[in-house]
C-alpha cells in the first residue's frame, strides 16, 4: 500500500496544484466566459484531488486527511509533475499547460476507470467526462490562438516552447508505477504517450503551430523535486492553515 499511497499522491497533487494555479487566474481572465470556464476546470480538478488525497491518507494510516496532506506537507513531499506548477505567464501559457496536461490526463483516467482501487476507479470514472471538456476547451483555444492573429500565434508558440520540456515527465515510468500496473491499480503513463503524441500533433497541425524541438527534459516532480516557483505557491496556499495549528475551518 505504500506504493499505492505514493501513486495516489502523484495524481492528487497534479490535480491540486493545477487547481491552485487556475484558481489564482479567477478575476484575471481575458473575458468573463473564461473566468467561468477556468473556475469550472479548477473546481473539477479540486474535486478530483480531494478524494485522491483522502484515500492516500486513509491507506497511509497515519491519520492525515485531505487537508493535512494539502496544507501540512513540505515542498519535497509533493509528488506532482513540474508541468502543473509552472506559472501563468499569459493566457497562452495557461492554455498550453492545459493542452499538454489534459491530453495526458484524459487517456490516463480512461484507463484508470478499471483500476483495482475503487476510489481511484471512481475518481477516474467521474473525471473522464470532466477532462474531456478540459481538453476540448484547451483545443478550441489552441486553434483560436494559433490561427488567430500574428501576436496570438507568436505567444502560443512561445508558450508551447517554454512548457515543452515539462511534458516528458508526464510519461515517465518507474518501478513503483510498473508494479502497481501489474496489480491493476495503476496505469503505466508511458502507455498513454502515443495517444498524447497523436492528439497534440493533430491540434498543433490544425492550429498552424510547430511541435517544439527542445531536447531539454525537466524532471523530478515524482521524487518531490520542484521548480523554484513552487515554494511560493505552497507558501501562499498553506500559510493560513499553518498559522492556526489544530484549528478546523
Amino acid at each position: 500500500t505504500a506504493a499505492t499511497v505514493q501513486y495516489l499522491l502523484r495524481l492528487g497533487d497534479d490535480a491540486l496544484v493545477l487547481a491552485q494555479r487556475l484558481g489564482a487566474q479567477l478575476t484575471r481572465a481575458p473575458q468573463l466566459e473564461e473566468d467561468v470556464a477556468l473556475a469550472n476546470i479548477a473546481l473539477d480538478l479540486l474535486g478530483q484531488a480531494r478524494p485522491l488525497l483522502a484515500r492516500a491518507g486513509e491507506l497511509e494510516g497515519r491519520g492525515r486527511d485531505e487537508d493535512a496532506l494539502a496544507f501540512l506537507r513540505e515542498e519535497r513531499d509533493f509528488l506532482n509533475c513540474q508541468l502543473v506548477e509552472q506559472p501563468d505567464v499569459d493566457f497562452a501559457g495557461t492554455i498550453a499547460r492545459q493542452l499538454l496536461f489534459s491530453c495526458y490526463q484524459l487517456p490516463l483516467l480512461q484507463a484508470l476507470t478499471t483500476s483495482a482501487d475503487e476510489v481511484l476507479a471512481g475518481v477516474a470514472g467521474k473525471g473522464v467526462k470532466e477532462v474531456a471538456y478540459h481538453r476540448d476547451h484547451a483545443v478550441q483555444w489552441t486553434l483560436r490562438l494559433g490561427d488567430g492573429t500574428e501576436e496570438s500565434s507568436r505567444r502560443m508558440q512561445a508558450a508551447l516552447d517554454r512548457l515543452w520540456p515539462f511534458a516528458a515527465e508526464l510519461f515517465e515510468s518507474d518501478d513503483l508505477v510498473r508494479s502497481l500496473a501489474v496489480r491493476g491499480v495503476a496505469v503505466d503513463p508511458a502507455s498513454v504517450r502515443p495517444r498524447w503524441d497523436a492528439d497534440v500533433d493533430a491540434v498543433l497541425a490544425e492550429a498552424g503551430l510547430a511541435r517544439p524541438s527542445s531536447v531539454r527534459v525537466a524532471t523530478g516532480g515524482r521524487r518531490g523535486l520542484h521548480t523554484e516557483c513552487f515554494g511560493y505557491l505552497l507558501a501562499e496556499m498553506q500559510h493560513l492553515a499553518r498559522s492556526h495549528p489544530g484549528a478546523t475551518w
Binding site: 478575476t27 490561427d147 505567444r155 493560513l240 492553515a241 475551518w249
Partner: protein
C-alpha cells in the same frame, strides 16, 4: 401616446415589459444604468473574495469559494445579457466601468485582510444584496426580473455559506472567534450603507417606484435587513458594533444608530480603501486580455469566411 398608455397599463397591471415593447426613453436609461451597475458589482465583487481563493484554509472551503466567485462571474454574464436587451452591449458597459463613468456597489471598495472577511461578505453583503434584490424579481422589466430570480436563488445559498464560515470561526479557537468578530465589526456599517442614502436624500427613488423597478424605499429595505441580521448575529455568538442597537417592541423593529454618511460619500467619490485597486485590477485583466479577444475574433472571421467560400464553391 397610445404606446405610452399601453406601457403604463402593462406596468400598472403588474405585467412585464419585454424588449420588443415600446418603453419611455427615461425608463430604458434608468434600467440600463441600474442593470449595468448591478452587473459591474458582480464583477468587481469577485475581487475581495477572490483574494482568498489561493489561501483558503481547507480544500472544502476552497472549492466552495471558487464556486461562489464563479457564480458571481455568471451573474455578471446574465446581467450584461439583460442590459443588452435594452440596446447596449457588454463591451460598451465595461468601457464605462473602466473609465469610472459607471459605478459599482461601494461595498467592494473595502479590503479583505482576513479569511473571516469571506464569511462576513457572504453573511452581511450577500444578505443585504438579497434584501435589495428579492423585490427586483418582480421588477416591471422582464429580462431583469428573470435574471434576478436565478441570481437570488444562488445568493441565498452564498449567504448561508457565509453564515456557516462565521459560525465555524465563532465557535472555534479564541483566535478564530476574534477573527470573526473583527470582520463583522468592519463590515456591519458598510453593509447598512449598501441600501443607499436615506429616503429623504434619494431623489430618483420615486420615479423608479412608479415604474415598478424599485418596490421599497432604501430605508424600508435597510430596516428589513437589520431586523433579519440581529437575531442571526445572536445565533452566531457575535456582537454588532452599534451601542444604540436595541429592540423596539412598539414598532416591532430593531432601532440602530446613525450611519456615517460622510464615509459613504467619500467611498462613493473614489476615496475608499480599495477603489483604485479594484478598478486597476479590472482594467489590467481587460487590457492584458485584449490580444486574446482579438485572436478569437480573427479566428471566427477567418472561419466564417472559409465556410462562406465553401458554400459558394
Amino acid at each position: 401616446a397610445a404606446l405610452a398608455e399601453r406601457f403604463e397599463r402593462t406596468v400598472a397591471a403588474e405585467e412585464r415589459i419585454e424588449p420588443r415593447d415600446w418603453m419611455p426613453e427615461a425608463y430604458r436609461k434608468t434600467l440600463i444604468r441600474q442593470i449595468a451597475q448591478h452587473a459591474h458589482s458582480e464583477i468587481i465583487g469577485m475581487q475581495p473574495e477572490g483574494n482568498w481563493i489561493t489561501r483558503a484554509p481547507s480544500l472544502r472551503r476552497k472549492a466552495i469559494l471558487l464556486a461562489k466567485v464563479q457564480d458571481e462571474a455568471g451573474h455578471g454574464l446574465y446581467l450584461y445579457s439583460a442590459a443588452e436587451t435594452l440596446g447596449v452591449d457588454r463591451a460598451e458597459l465595461l468601457d464605462l466601468l473602466h473609465a469610472g463613468r459607471q459605478k459599482y456597489s461601494s461595498i467592494f471598495n473595502y479590503p479583505t485582510p482576513t479569511w473571516a472577511d469571506v464569511g462576513a461578505i457572504g453573511w452581511l453583503v450577500d444578505g443585504a444584496a438579497i434584501v435589495n434584490q428579492v423585490p427586483i424579481t418582480r421588477c416591471s422589466y422582464g429580462p431583469y426580473a428573470r435574471a434576478m430570480v436565478r441570481i437570488c436563488k444562488e445568493e441565498s445559498f452564498h449567504q448561508r455559506q457565509g453564515f456557516e464560515i462565521l459560525h465555524h470561526l465563532s465557535s472555534g479557537t479564541p483566535e478564530q472567534h476574534a477573527m470573526a468578530q473583527d470582520a463583522v465589526d468592519r463590515w456591519w456599517w458598510p453593509s447598512l450603507m449598501m441600501f443607499g442614502p436615506p429616503d429623504d436624500a434619494s431623489p430618483n427613488s420615486a420615479r423608479s417606484m412608479a415604474w415598478k423597478i424599485k418596490r421599497f424605499s432604501n430605508d424600508e429595505l435597510r430596516q428589513r435587513f437589520v431586523d433579519m441580521a440581529v437575531p442571526q448575529a445572536e445565533a452566531l455568538g457575535l456582537t454588532l458594533p452599534d451601542p444604540e442597537l436595541r429592540w423596539d417592541a412598539e414598532s416591532g423593529h430593531y432601532r440602530f444608530g446613525a450611519i456615517d454618511w460622510t464615509e459613504f460619500h467619500e467611498v462613493l467619490r473614489g476615496n475608499g480603501p480599495c477603489n483604485a485597486l479594484r478598478v486597476e485590477h479590472r482594467v489590467r485583466a481587460h487590457e492584458e486580455g485584449a490580444w486574446v479577444r482579438e485572436a478569437a475574433d480573427a479566428y471566427a472571421a477567418k472561419h466564417a469566411a472559409r465556410a462562406g467560400a465553401e458554400v459558394a464553391a
